[in-house]
Symmetry: C2
DNA sequence: GCGGAAATTATTCAACCGTATAATAACGCC
DNA sequence: GGCGTTATTATACGGTTGAATAATTTCCGC
């Protein structure tokens, strides 16, 4: 009975592979079916190896969650341009793939359902989400100031809550039923709605900012 | 070892108890930890009894999901009043307990993460969500007409998407971090934002519709 | 420098224990 | 006695473990 030949991975690489396989498996099969064995097979190794890199399966899952949140935050961090452009990019970024797709929703929902019962995941969750709305609030403040409409702390907070809510909600709709919307439709709705909320135009002259016509049905999922 | 004395429940009642216990257990412990035993204990019976009422655990979970969606839909169905009142009630209903609390989010996320991998759940999901935005679109159309601002199909659809997105998003924020908001704050933000989106007042004169001041920090979870 | 032995350690493998679901036997009330 | 409920058992599967082994690096005599 011969033993399998294997490849010995360079420092850190296998660890990253396992984290990626964890996320892929959860997205594809759900948290319940994401067993150590299933994850290991997807990563091309055997189950026992997991405990060589992580103290436990739970720790590996926790690190996978942290990695996911970090990846999201990193995407939003390197937005450049003037305040109006930055706000517009932020919204677009969060309402198009890869942030807005069923893969992301699947992952997100799996973790959210565990956050309430797992203190370690809850801590990671808190860390990950802590800056999100603050970032948005900063973008809004900068934008209002640049447009000569400086606003107080309370007003900015209120706007950030409303706009954050709208982004989250449209993200949800896009993930749940992306095939019901044109590619840019959700982004256009978000931008024009936010214009109405703030009373200021956001769209640049050189790019379409109107809502494309579409006479489809109106179901959510 | 004496056998426990037991109570013989009337037909149907025990079944309903088990469904309720299923939802409670999923919300409290997560889908993974919602074992037949845990659910049975919560319902005050022993595990074997489940198989007397349901063909399998999966079927019980599926029926619990159907029950949850039905309950949500039923709440929104019996709203009475003039168009403006109905729209306002619809929004309020979806942004206050029991629809908007961490219990609901927990349930919702648990099921959503399974919907993609379980065809039976997917069918139930589709049935349950099919009419939601159409209902909202109808409310919006009626409201606009009643205010003398009749709108075409495309406009109504666009408004319904935007407002549905905002409701979903604020619902999400309320569930995730309800303790960061005043009781009526999210509702007030939603109502004033929707006023801005539609360009029409929604709030009645006799009820506060302004956003209450609150100088707290701005974190999401 | 260089070839190969020795040490290191990443990986596999098989088995363990706990627990889950499903099936079935035992029991009590009407 | 029949039916509803419970206790018990069977089987399967999940995470974890530790010993065996293959791949890689280090070391040493030359």
């Amino acid at each position: 009975m011969n033993r399998r030949t294997f490849h010995r991975a360079p420092e850190g690489e296998r660890r990253q592979e396992l984290i990626r396989a964890t996320l892929d498996t959860i997205a594809a099969l759900g948290l319940k079916a994401a067993t150590v064995r299933a994850i290991a097979i997807r990563a091309g190794v055997t189950a026992g190896l997991v405990r060589h890199y992580f103290a436990s399966k739970d720790q590996m899952v926790a690190e996978a969650y942290r990695f996911m949140l970090t990846t999201f935050a990193a995407k939003a961090a390197d937005i450049a341009g003037d305040p109006r452009m930055r706000l517009r990019k932020f919204i677009t970024l969060n309402l198009t793939a890869p942030v807005a797709d069923s893969h992301s929703l699947s992952l997100w929902a799996s973790f959210i359902s565990q956050v309430r019962v797992d203190p370690e995941l809850a801590a990671i969750h808190r860390d990950g989400y802590l800056g999100f709305r603050n970032d948005l609030q900063g973008l809004i403040r900068d934008f209002l100031e640049a447009e000569g409409r400086p606003a107080g702390e309370a007003d900015c907070r209120r706007h950030a809550i409303a706009i954050n809510g709208m982004i989250d909600g449209l993200w949800l709709e896009g993930c749940l039923a992306g095939e019901l919307f044109e590619e840019a439709e959700l982004v256009a709705i978000a931008l024009s709605s936010i214009e109405a909320l703030l009373g200021l135009p956001i769209g640049p002259d050189d790019e379409a900012n109107t809502v494309p016509e579409r006479a489809g049905d109106a179901t959510t999922a």
